[in-house]
Homo-oligomer: 401 residues x 2
């Protein structure tokens, strides 16, 4: 008898009918003799609706209270799904994040899972129940309800699977992981397999299907993730440890992200202390910086540009005000029409010349880039958003994706 | 510096605008130097909406899961209200039932408060915060989220006030406690004061404004309850210990309730054991029986009738099926068109003849009653619902209410 964790996203439980359909699918699996832990997100657009109510009251609502508010969305889903199982004659129990032992740490609305006390889930599984766990949420050391940020339900599912040492199946409204987002490139191909490392890189670079943190946990515990269509009709994608049977191409995938806020701080005195102060302040607020560039010094001043997520725009305002108090010379500007294009492939470790090839493709197409970063298995470029479509098509074609 | 618990019901927080208005009222009080604990219900018809979703899946949803589902309603309200306080510049924190230390026992959807661990609420009050507590909910010894049944938010508020040894103010959409429901009798008068005992009796007999359990807790700890309009414009009603300054009328109030399910079990073998078995089974399911009547034995069989709340109709079906297994002769029928009329007054303890007077008023108006029960300070009659309006008007007029 095997245990499996299945996760269904918001679009899979958007209506009462869809909740019943999820229950039926889980029951099919249970009939095959598996024990199932189901992780669900909030129904459809519930989270957006809740956030909109909060924003009607305050443009920048307190984050602890946002967590309190948003976590109700998943709580509704788990209760309704449990009622559906019982209506179909199956014993089931719903558990909130804290009841499922999901302990978190970090900043409200962006918590990380610190640990999962799996005993309660195991106890109910041992009693033959289908266990339904609210995704996206946990409880911190102060007893406050916390949420895990974007893609948090995937992280919940993978963390539970890691503790249960079982496969984690993520059901969604796409067929699996594509080498390029099919909405941007119609000839994109679905991958049968992808390594943890490539998936982490693609996720953190903007591929919307899976969050990097979820893949990171799966990688750490070597738990396979299977991403597939929520109807179960087609073969999905396995995210697992790299092995030689995987395709040996230099480039596995291409991602593009519009979630780029480029902040430029001009007139920074050209001292190591000033630059350090800027990034210390940013770190203090838990804002993740992606790319950084700096101009050559002129008259003792430099300009520093960095990119971050658009959702940090209010926090960036707070931070830059704080910095201006200590370095009054600075001038801050923000650009929102920036996109990031990245190519990812574990084969890049062995095959050289990928960066050169990408540069030449962009240049042939007259696409200017602002910043470049590379990792062992990826190269990323920021470009003007207006050039994104052309860049994706040109790169996907020339790189045979 | 005094502490006060204020409770606002669902209609007081039905919209974002109303939530802001509640925040402003509480802040006025806070400015006067009081520390405020605010207990809120779910927004408007949220609870009904949640229950309807559950009933779309199952006609008789699992009660633990209903609690899980319903408790989200209050959680949304507390988060939004807290965001409102913070937007107005006041430090506030929302607490769910379990975070506020509200421990419960009993049956899901009908739990009772076993204890309140008040430390967390006190800690936040001491830090100068406005503390917002989700009404209607708590947590039981298994760590399950529980709800307190109808009027549960009042009970939460009074239980918190009892632990904080302070007044509990209940703000609602009526001006206070009336001697007769004004919707049934337009000449009804608002009471300035009512004793705990009379209020408990009126509440348990169907006066909708306050739940009996809430008043019982206030009585036990001698905490005054003030019931008033949520705009604060008019003087409300104090529910407090009886004293001689209160009106010395035989009858303080009249209540009428349609929440009566009359169950008749025919062909019960005329043995003490059979009757005992029926009421043992009912007790096992935590169903509260109100009135009981029994016909004279005929051929060794009796008919037993009892009344209970309409919300127990499904449980009654389960119970009578179980009883039928052990006493196969019985036939069960249920009547739903029954109302209960009660007159209540602490003065009845001293003044005799109230029962006789009520009987004669009903009889003069050709109103037949089915069952009668009396307590020290009340007399109740079940009648056909069709006679209710006539009975209320006749009794209210003749008894000068």
């Amino acid at each position: 008898m095997a245990v499996v964790v299945q996760k269904y996203g918001g679009s899979s439980v958007a209506t009462i009918e869809k909740i019943k359909a999820v229950a039926e699918r889980v029951i099919e699996r249970k009939k095959k003799g598996d024990e199932v832990v189901v992780v669900v997100s909030a129904m459809g657009k519930t989270t957006d609706h809740l956030i909109n109510m909060a924003k009607e009251i305050s443009p920048n609502p307190n984050r602890r209270e946002l967590d309190m508010l948003m976590s109700t969305g998943e709580q509704v889903s788990i209760a309704l799904l449990s009622i559906a199982f019982q209506q179909f004659g199956y014993d089931a129990i719903s558990l909130t994040g804290f009841q499922a032992g999901i302990l978190t740490e970090g900043m409200h609305t962006k918590n990380r899972i610190a640990d999962v006390r799996i005993e309660n889930v195991k106890k109910h599984l041992d009693e033959g129940k289908i266990v339904i766990v609210a995704g996206f949420q946990g409880i911190n050391q102060f007893g406050d309800i916390t949420t895990l940020g974007r893609g948090g339900s995937d992280t919940s599912a993978v963390a539970l699977a890691s503790k249960l040492k079982c496969t984690c199946e993520i059901y969604t409204d796409v067929e699996g992981i594509y080498n390029v987002d099919p909405r941007m490139y119609s000839d994109a191909k679905k991958l049968d397999n992808i390594s943890y490392e490539e998936m982490m890189e693609m996720a953190s670079l903007g591929a919307g299907v899976m969050e990097a943190r979820a893949v990171e946990i799966a990688c750490k515990y070597n738990i396979p993730i299977y991403v597939a269509l929520n109807t179960g009709e087609k073969l999905g994608t396995y995210i697992k440890e790299y092995d030689e049977t995987m395709e040996n191409k230099a480039i596995t995938g291409l991602t593009a992200s519009d979630d780029v806020l480029m902040v430029t701080i001009r007139n920074v005195p050209c001292k190591a202390k000033s630059i350090a102060l800027i990034f210390e302040r940013i770190a203090k607020y838990n804002v993740n910086i992606d790319m950084i560039s700096q101009t050559a010094p002129l008259d003792g001043y430099v300009n520093v540009s960095f990119t971050t997520s658009k959702e940090d725009i209010y926090t960036i305002d707070d931070i830059t005000k704080e910095i201006k108090k200590e370095i009054p010379t600075i001038k801050v500007s923000k650009e929102l029409d920036i996109s990031k294009i990245s190519v990812v492939g574990i084969g890049m470790m062995k095959q050289s010349g990928v960066a050169a090839k990408v540069f030449s493709i962009l240049s042939e197409n007259n696409i200017e880039f602002k910043q470049v970063t590379t990792s062992e298995i990826s190269i990323s470029y920021t470009i003007d958003s207006i050039d994104k479509g052309r860049a994706v098509t040109a790169l996907a074609k020339e790189l045979n994706l």
